[in-house]
């Protein structure tokens, strides 16, 4: 059996681990367009601010490939999948055959057309190690930085650049920050927190026109800059699959074994795919590292012949900015219980159909996974002491029976 994996990040590594649980013999080839051994993409901001060394960027120990008997082809771009021949074509024209193929191509920065952007010399996206290195090369003490996009990527870049004493302005078309994971109140708390570190926000508007060292916004303001970070959004890398005839909506469509719709023996996992979010009942791209790894692992097992399903996917994020932590999960459509101390602690629990569907914790995030488990395991809130859960996440809120099953019954099970 020959397995070929396109990509070398969390979903690809999950695939290797999944395969090797059931097939120690088959050949595995990883092909990546980056030149690095597997590294943790979310760590680029930590590296940029000097909190993590290049060596500690590694997502797995350096002997991972050797231990798992994986052949690697780095710095190599795959340009085509040929499903009829069961080969892929790489950029030099050579073909590589596969029995089972994993497409773990991730996503790329989305840069909308913006007038004058070509005049800006120092403009960067912020998704790969190379992009972080380019920013580090360009940044200098006290540099004026314009960050376009107040989402996770833009704000992580801001956190890192604060260490260089950068003078930062963040512009976003949305009227609040982190709209994909926070509600209005939590956004406001986080915005105030980040502003207290000297970052300026100009929200509800966008860049109308760039000049070499300044941008005119649609609200009439002008922002001067030395460096621009473009963090408007990301798009899944789906072209290889769509061109080969596989089904793509917003992301690559797979079944719950991660097999690509319409392409035999081709699997996909990670940020390029869609998942079924059980809290909203919708197919979505859940561009989250844990999701990528777990999809990859499920795919790998199936590729190696062990039937396994990826179920219970939910949006979930654990992230902090300038020392203020957030943990969120699920969706926020339903009845909300909200508690705040008027400072930086904020809690929101959302229930619907007698289940916890989502939550936001900011500040005090201790033991949040107990809430996550209520969502993922579809535990009826009637069965729990919900008053206790409103107070804090605790095992005490479960029935004795359920608690014993969880705690006393031997091997814990992740879900």
């Amino acid at each position: 059996m020959k397995y070929v994996i396109i990509g070398n990040s969390a979903a690809a590594i999950g695939t290797v681990q999944g395969i090797r649980e059931y097939d120690k013999e088959g050949q595995i080839v990883i092909i990546s367009d980056e030149k690095y051994s597997t590294y943790s993409r979310p760590l680029i901001s930590y590296w940029l601010k000097g909190a993590v060394t290049e060596e500690n960027m590694r997502y797995r120990d350096t002997d991972f490939y050797e231990k798992n008997d994986v052949d690697t082809l780095f710095d190599t771009k795959v340009i085509k999948i040929n499903p009829d021949k069961k080969t892929i074509t790489i950029e030099n024209g050579n073909e590589v055959s596969y029995d089972k193929l994993m497409v773990a191509t991730g996503s790329k920065p989305f840069v909308p057309p913006m007038e004058g952007l070509e005049k800006v010399e120092k403009k960067f996206t912020f998704m790969t190690f190379d992009s972080a290195k380019a920013v580090k090369e360009a940044i200098f003490e006290g540099a004026k930085v314009l960050i376009v996009g107040a989402g996770l990527i833009g704000l992580k870049a801001a956190e890192a650049l604060e260490h260089y004493g950068a003078d930062m302005t963040v512009v976003d078309l949305a009227d609040r920050i982190l709209p994909s994971i926070l509600d209005t109140e939590a956004s406001a708390i986080m915005q105030k927190h980040i502003e207290s570190k000297g970052v300026k926000f100009i929200l509800g508007t966008s860049v109308k026109k760039f000049s070499e060292k300044s941008a005119v916004l649609n609200n009439g303001e002008t922002v001067d800059f030395d460096i621009v970070i473009l963090a408007v959004g990301v798009r899944p890398n789906t072209e290889l699959v769509s061109e080969a005839g596989g089904k793509v909506n917003r992301g690559i469509v797979t079944d719950n074994k991660q097999a690509v719709d319409g392409l035999k023996d081709v699997y996909s996992a990670g940020d390029c795919t869609e998942s079924f979010d059980i809290t909203s009942g919708q197919q979505k791209i859940l561009a989250l590292l844990p999701n990528a790894f777990m999809q990859g692992e499920v795919a790998g097992k199936n590729m190696a012949g062990k039937e396994t399903y990826y179920l219970n996917a939910i949006p979930m994020n654990a992230i902090g900015f300038f020392g203020l932590h957030i943990i969120t999960a699920g969706s926020y459509d339903g009845e909300a219980f909200v508690e705040t101390d008027g400072k930086e602690n904020y809690k929101k629990l959302v229930t619907k159909d007698n289940e916890l569907k989502g939550f936001i914790l900011m500040g005090d995030v201790k033991r949040a996974g107990i809430y996550t488990s209520l969502i993922k395991q579809h535990i009826s809130i009637d069965e729990c002491d919900f008053e206790l859960l409103k107070n804090k996440p605790q095992m005490m809120a479960f029935t004795r029976e359920r608690r014993n099953e969880k705690l006393a019954g031997g091997v814990g099970n992740g879900n």
């Binding site: 797995r60 654990a318 943990i327 949040a368 996974g369 005490m396 705690l407």
Partner: protein, 149 residues
Amino acid sequence: MKRVYVNEDWCLGCHLCEYYCAFANSGETDMAKAFKLDKAPVPRITVEEGDGINFAVQCRHCKDAPCVKGCITGALSINNGVIEIDGSRCVGCYTCVLSCPYGCIVIDEKNGGKTITKCELCTRNSAGEPACVANCPNRAIVFEERGED
């Protein structure tokens, strides 16, 4: 594999397990000294107290561990069944706190929450066997094999 289990009928809610856990992992040889330090060491076991019921909770060392799978840096790994944290590679993102269904990943307040910490069954400190078990006055916490691996 041997794991730590609690019998909630016998747990007195005395919190001694928390103190002995924190001490065992403090690197200090003197308990009084360990707790006199600027910032007290953090226990990796949590006692929950309720209406006439108490119990201690710590890492279940899941085989199918969501904390390990979700770890964004690879700092969490399973070695001989024990889920271990490499503090030098943890950046304190708390994805594991989000993922652990038992609430057993502990934010290390001692270093200001820069990393997480967790029960490693006292395999990486000098206690030799789980300190919570050895020092439970009512034998409410046990370290034993329960049939599964």
